[in-house]
Each structure stands twice: as C-alpha cells, then as structure tokens.
Symmetry: C3
Subunit: 159 residues, 3 copies
C-alpha cells in the first residue's frame, strides 16, 4: 500500500517535472537568442533537431547557432529585439512531447518599438540522454493562412 502510494507520487511528480523542464526550455529561447547566445540556444535542440521558420530551414544545432550568428539576426538584436514567447501548452507521452505557444517579435525602431511579427510555434521534443531536447520546431506567421492555425490546433491537442 505504501509502496503503491509512493510509486504513484513519483509518477505524478515526474510528469510535472517533465512538463516544467520543457516549459523552461521554451521560456529560455527568447532570452538566449535576444542575448546572442548562439551556442546555448543551439543546445535547446537535439544534435540533428530541425527548426523550420518561414524561409529559413535549419537541420542541426550548427544551423541554429549559425542563424543566431547571422548578419540578419545580429542586426536585429544590435538594434534591439524581443522574441517574446507566451506560456507553452505541453503534452508529454513517455520520452516524447509536443508543445505549442504563440509569440510576438517586438523590434526597436526609432524612438519606440513595433510588433514585427506574431507567430504560432509548434515543438516536438524528445528526452535524449536524460534531457529534453527539441527535435522539430515549426514557426509560422499568424497572417491568416491555414498553416499557422493548424500548428496551433495540433499543438493544443498534443499532436
């Protein structure tokens, strides 16, 4: 009886910890890329993890790090940028997980700031070597097209 209660507590707490680890990973993305931390941002991905953002397909940690080091991204954060991701909805299934959140990209322009983009973000994650890592992220602009909306639907449903 005590053993069963302990096992059940361990199982429930493990689920909370897994979901929280993924939430933390996603919450770290914006601060890391806005700081220009190319290597730390890349470590959020699996070695061969992918990041498909409109017009910019990445296929590895090296590709993610190269994106952060690119002239385009450096120009953005050199002027001032905030990749602002909202609270993620996370669904864990053993060593696999799906997460979804919306985001806004706010950039410094003139005296103030402007919202350059709002997006849908869909993540597939896997526990590899005891650490959750992104195996596939897709980001699409919320411009009314079906694809961004399908990412949101799938993500909340844990697909």
């Amino acid at each position: 009886m005590t053993d069963e209660r302990l096992a059940e507590l361990e199982r429930r707490l493990q689920r909370v910890e897994d979901e929280r680890a993924i939430e933390r990973l996603i919450a770290s993305y914006g601060p890391l890329v806005d700081a220009g931390e190319a290597d730390s941002a890349a470590q959020l991905w699996a070695a061969d993890g992918t990041y498909d953002v409109e017009g910019w397909p990445m296929r590895s940690r090296e590709d993610v790090a190269a994106m952060v080091r690119s002239d385009e991204h450096q120009g953005l954060i050199g002027r001032g940028a905030c990749h602002f991701l909202g609270p993620a909805v996370v669904t864990v299934d053993g060593d696999d997980a799906v997460a979804v959140c919306e985001s806004v990209l706010v950039i410094h322009r003139g005296e103030g700031f402007t919202v350059w983009r709002a997006g849908a973000n869909h993540f597939r994650l896997r526990r590899i070597d005891g650490r959750w890592q992104i195996v596939a992220r897709i980001t699409r602009t919320l411009d009314g097209k079906a694809e961004a909306r399908e990412l949101l639907s799938a993500g909340v449903a844990g697909r």
Copy 2:
C-alpha cells in the same frame, strides 16, 4: 508517520497539479481561438459558464462557440490575429479557483502587426466532473478605467 508524510505529499502535489491544470487551460485559450477551434475553446467553459467581454456577453458554451464562429472573429483570424495571454496567477480553494492574467491582442495589418487591445482577464473556475472549467470570465480593456484595474487587484488577491 509514513502515512502522514504521504498524505501531506499527496495534498501538496494535488495543489500543484490543480494550479497547473488551470494554467494550461488559460494558456490554451489563445491558440484555440486563433486557430478557430470553436468547440474546443467552448469546452474550456462550464456548460453554463459566462464570458463577459466588452460589448459581447456570453452565457454558455454555445455562446462562446458562436463568438469564435462569428463573422467578426473569423474576419480577425482570417487576416491574422494573436490573442496573447500572459502567465496566470492562480489561487485554488478546494473545488473553486480564481485566476488573473493580462493579455494583448495583436492583429495583422498591412505589412506588419499592431496591438489592437491590451486587457485584464479575471477567471472564476470550478472543478466539475473532475475537470477544471471556467464558470465566469470577465475581460476589460486596460484603457485607464477603474473596472479593468479592479479585476487585476481582485484576481491577484484570489477574490
């Protein structure tokens, strides 16, 4: 002694799980309505739950689903919209709970995006049939009027 420690752990973990279930529910709202998932969004509410957003009182799941299916909402997400809700502050008391968060509504316009509205969101929730459901949500624009500010005060205090 072991029994007491187990019971205490179960009680504490249950509270964390309850709060997290509500946080997840609230984090799901934006993705669901931006995807146009009328029925899934409506399921976040109790059957007779209410949603009072300026100029649009809803009194049931059917009303919430009808709002998502309305020409106004469909026009919004057809052009591109992001109902972006921030991290919620949740206070659980048995089978009842209060939650509060701020939000921004970002819409696609021309080449970019603009913040159409910033709001205060106050939720009353109840555990019904073992699942947390919204029994009353009030959203008010943060335009300086007292009502939005009172929602924030009450929500953080768990009222």
Copy 3:
C-alpha cells in the same frame, strides 16, 4: 528505503514549489502595478530590496510603492497601460534564486495601443521569513546595448 523515497519526493516537490512561488511572484508584478496596488507591489520586494530601472533607482519597499504612486506611473495607468512580463526562467539554490524574463510595456494611445518599451528583467530573490522576496531587480530596455543582453545571458545561466 521508504524513508529515503519520501525524503527524495519531499526534496523534489519543494523545488517545484519554490520555483512556482517565484513564478507567481513575477507574474503578479504586472497586474499589481497596472492596478495601482502600490503596497502589494512593494511587498514583492524585501524590506531593503532594490529595483534599478533606467533612470529610476529604488532602494526599499517604500521606494517601490512611491514609484507606483508617482505622477508618472499614475499618468501611465490612468491612460491605460499593460506591464506584460513573459514566463520566467527560475533557478533556485537553497534560499537564494535568480530569475529572468523579457517584458513589453504596452500603453493606450489614441484609439489603440502601442509598444512603448521591450525589456530584459533580472531578479535576485531570497527566502526571508519563509517567503520568497526580491532582493535586487534590474530592468533594461532591449535597445541593442550590451547591458540588457548581459542580463538575459546571466539570468538563463542562473547567475
């Protein structure tokens, strides 16, 4: 064996509760200052806690409350403002903690809203009298300068 499993569960759950208490504290900041709750906002800080926001150094709870009661802040929330803080990345080490998040300040202007500022927020917290309190918060505008970016790097690394 049972005792060890119980102690391990208690230790893990305590860490989750500590991190969550800090997340809740940070999620409360925006709603409290946008509501004008000067005293409740000040209570998020330690008695001699500091808040260093560009051009406005505060050295105590009284200073934080005075900021909320200031003409400048009252003018902001009287017209309508949303201090929107994102999900925090929290690192707890015993009775000390570091947290970081990004934020946008959205203000009501004319018919709509505009993003006035995007910022990096770095928090040092301490458990004092059994309650997590801010001992030092630094906020810097994300305008491309190194300081804001260093706050983000340090915060995610738990420094």
